[in-house]
Amino acid sequence: MEKTHILSIHVENESGVLTRVAGLFSARGFNIDSICVAKTLEKNESKMIIATSGDTQILEQITKQLNRLVNVIKVQELTDEDSVVRQTVLIKVNADETTKSDIFRIKDIFGGRVIDVSRNSYTLEATGSERKIESLIDILRPLGIKDIVKTGIIALQRTRKSS
């Protein structure tokens, strides 16, 4: 069954690593739904979080192929159950006297912030699970979204509870 998977990939922080990983996905016909890359605290090490889709066999191939790359140090699948997953969105939404209070209310419900204000628009920032961000967008849509940008998702494994 097609399903979204989140891969946490530790790579050497060398030029060309992103191309190697992205090139592998395109060459083998795998999907990248979103990708986030940044340095870690380890020297010369970066972490990529890639959201991808496919059945378990495809996921197994993706993982194995990634591991073949010399610059890839570790590949780990993160699941919704055992990890925290977040995405950030910036939304510029139409705002006038009649809708301002609605926007503030919605922002509060979603734990977001207003980070820029102009005469007829507000820019909101919100962070949350993919589903939460989608519902925020759905609720704001009738007001008129002028522009939007989303980060890829990032995720971190939860610490296992000692039993």
Binding site: E12, G16, G23, Q61, R68
Partner: protein
């Protein structure tokens, strides 16, 4: 060595030479150009230690290094210039990558300050070769040069082998740095698994004893891992029938009573029937290529699968595997044999119970052996049979791609590993002749053939000059049907004989061509002339090009049409 001298300073070019020597390199295949002039100048000082073979086209250098690697088991080394020098090697690199052949390719690059400027003879070599190398590097700092070379050889030759490219800007080759060749490599993201997991190997041992209709399906991994002896020991220990991929030919003696030939699209009837009727198939260093499996859903449809491979990504890629064993074939087979050796009673009862199975496969073998019909025109298969007989199966045979390649696989009975050099994965026409040159350099005392078609030989014919220059007695046998034969065969079978641009309306006179290059040209037009021509070629210690004028419309059979299960064979 003067330990008091403060620093062992060297130019980048000299560092390259010293590093190559430390990697045991004594031969490189190359072609000079602007960006590698410094390296070539230094190479001139090292010509007693490192033999440089000047090819006539960079593609020839890559294939020759590949042939050298396949024949010798050593890493093949290529040296070419930037831009077109590098791009000309791409087909050779991709060929080696698909067949897991260890190579290191050194390419020149424009100086670091010019990179990205569209400079003269600049190409993004690392970008272009990323998908067709095992790994590649651009050396941006001379301090990294020695370490990079060390890593490149290590990566190329370990795990599942493959080509590694190092792109070296011209200024790096002239700048100066202390030379200190690293003893070891540290790569956090690269550590191949050599020893198979003992639980998996025990499971495999149990299953192999339990199976009623077992089959070994072996591939190029057996050769890369130098595991032919272990394979033979295992097969004989349990009377296991063996079938091989194209890449695996030579890993098991073709004349052995347990060998049933190649499987797949042009496999033998017995091998394909055995695969479809087996109840347990052990894939050893093979990767379930589509030319092997045919319709993949029906491949080994009655069997459970075990798979031994050093590359985890090969396991379970196309076919579901019940017993995966990640590890080096040689090491895993040794452990497996060790376990089985303690089970003498089970072995003898298993062997007894399987007599029927072997009989069944042998019946298929006698029902539909590989055959062809002789008449007064030369049959391609006859030429290859005679080459086999006259070389007693001891020659190194390189092939091009197409019908001549498949007939070679079917009719030359390979005895030993590293004696068939063929582009199995990429299917590169033009591979065979330069590969034969590389093999002849690696094995000067062996008889080396390139079995070619009239189409493919023309793809790297310029290397005749290389063969003549170094006096390499390579024998080229052209199976000349004035067609791109395999294309013609498909057009005959699947396109209503519409021979769309597959006829070679004009071919050179290959005899005169050979002579023009300073080689020897011979021709056979009738079956009676075949043996004398081969005998004469074998007696000449020079490059010889033999033109065998063969039946134009002969086909390769058995043949499994694309998408059909491998039991759906068209027979002769």
């Amino acid at each position: 060595m003067n330990h008091n001298s403060k620093k062992n300073l060297m130019t980048g070019s000299k560092i390259i030479m010293e590093s190559l020597i430390r990697e045991g390199v004594d031969t490189i295949f190359g072609y000079p150009g602007g960006a590698v002039l410094n390296i070539y100048d230094e190479l001139f000082n090292y010509k007693d230690k490192i033999k440089h073979i000047l090819v006539r086209h960079e593609q020839g250098a890559a294939h020759a290094a590949d042939g050298y690697a396949r024949a010798s088991g050593k890493v093949g080394v290529v040296l070419v210039t930037s831009g077109p020098g590098a791009t000309n090697t791409i087909t050779g690199i991709a060929t080696a990558n698909m067949d897991s052949i260890p190579m290191v390719i050194l390419t020149g690059q424009v100086s670091t300050n010019l990179i990205g400027n569209d400079a003269f003879q600049e190409a993004d070599t690392v970008g272009i070769t990323r998908p067709c190398t095992k790994h590649n590097y651009l050396v941006k700092d001379i301090k990294d040069l020695a370490k990079t070379i060390k890593e490149a050889f290590y990566i190329a030759s370990t795990g599942r082998p493959g080509p590694v490219l190092i792109d070296i800007p011209k200024d790096i080759t002239s700048s100066v740095c202390e030379f200190d060749y690293p003893e070891t490599v540290e790569l956090r993201g690269y550590s191949p698994t050599y020893f198979g997991h003992h639980i998996q190997i025990s499971k495999l041992a149990a299953e192999i004893l339990k199976a009623k209709k077992p089959l070994l399906y072996v591939g190029g991994g057996v050769i890369n891992s130098n595991a032919a002896n272990e394979l033979k020991e295992l097969a004989e220990l349990l009377d296991l029938p063996v079938t091989s991929t194209l890449m695996g030919l030579g890993s098991f003696p073709s004349s052995h009573p347990l060998f049933f030939g190649m499987l797949g699209m042009h496999g033998t009837y017995a091998a394909n029937m055995a695969t479809s009727n087996a109840d347990f198939i052990v894939a050893i260093g093979a990767r379930f290529d589509d030319r092997v499996t045919g319709k993949v859903e029906e491949f080994g449809k009655n069997a459970k699968f075990a798979h031994i491979d050093i590359d985890p990504s090969s396991i379970g890629k196309n076919v579901k595997i019940e017993i995966p064993v990640v590890g080096d074939v040689k090491s895993v087979l040794s452990s497996l044999i060790e376990i089985l050796n303690n089970k003498t009673e089970e072995i003898s009862s298993a062997k007894y119970e399987r007599l029927d199975w072997l009989e069944e496969i042998n019946a298929w073998k006698y029902e539909h052996p590989l055959l062809y019909r002789m008449n007064d025109i030369i049959k391609p298969q006859y030429v290859i049979e005679k080459i086999y007989e006259l070389t007693e199966g001891d020659a190194i045979i390189a092939t091009e791609v197409g019908q001549s390649q498949m007939w070679t696989a079917q009719f030359y009975k390979f005895k030993n590993p590293r004696t068939l050099l063929t582009s199995g994965g990429l299917g590169t026409m033009g591979y065979g002749f330069p590969a034969a040159i590389g093999a002849q350099i690696a094995c000067p005392d062996k008889t080396v053939f390139d079995i070619a078609g009239d189409g493919s030989i023309q793809m790297n014919i310029q290397e005749l000059a290389t063969a003549v220059q170094y006096n390499l007695p390579v024998k080229i046998a052209i199976i000349n049907n004035n067609f791109l034969g395999m294309i013609r065969q498909w057009q005959e079978l699947f396109y209503h004989k519409r021979y769309s641009f597959s006829e070679m309306n004009v071919n050179p006179d290959f005899v005169k061509l050979a002579e023009a290059y300073g080689a020897v040209g011979l021709r056979a037009k009738t079956p009676e002339e075949v043996v004398p021509v081969i005998e004469k070629a074998l007696s000449i210690k020079k490059p010889v090009m033999m033109d065998f004028v063969v039946d134009k419309e002969e086909g390769v059979y058995p043949m499994v049409p694309t998408g059909a299960p491998i039991t759906g064979m068209l027979l002769v």
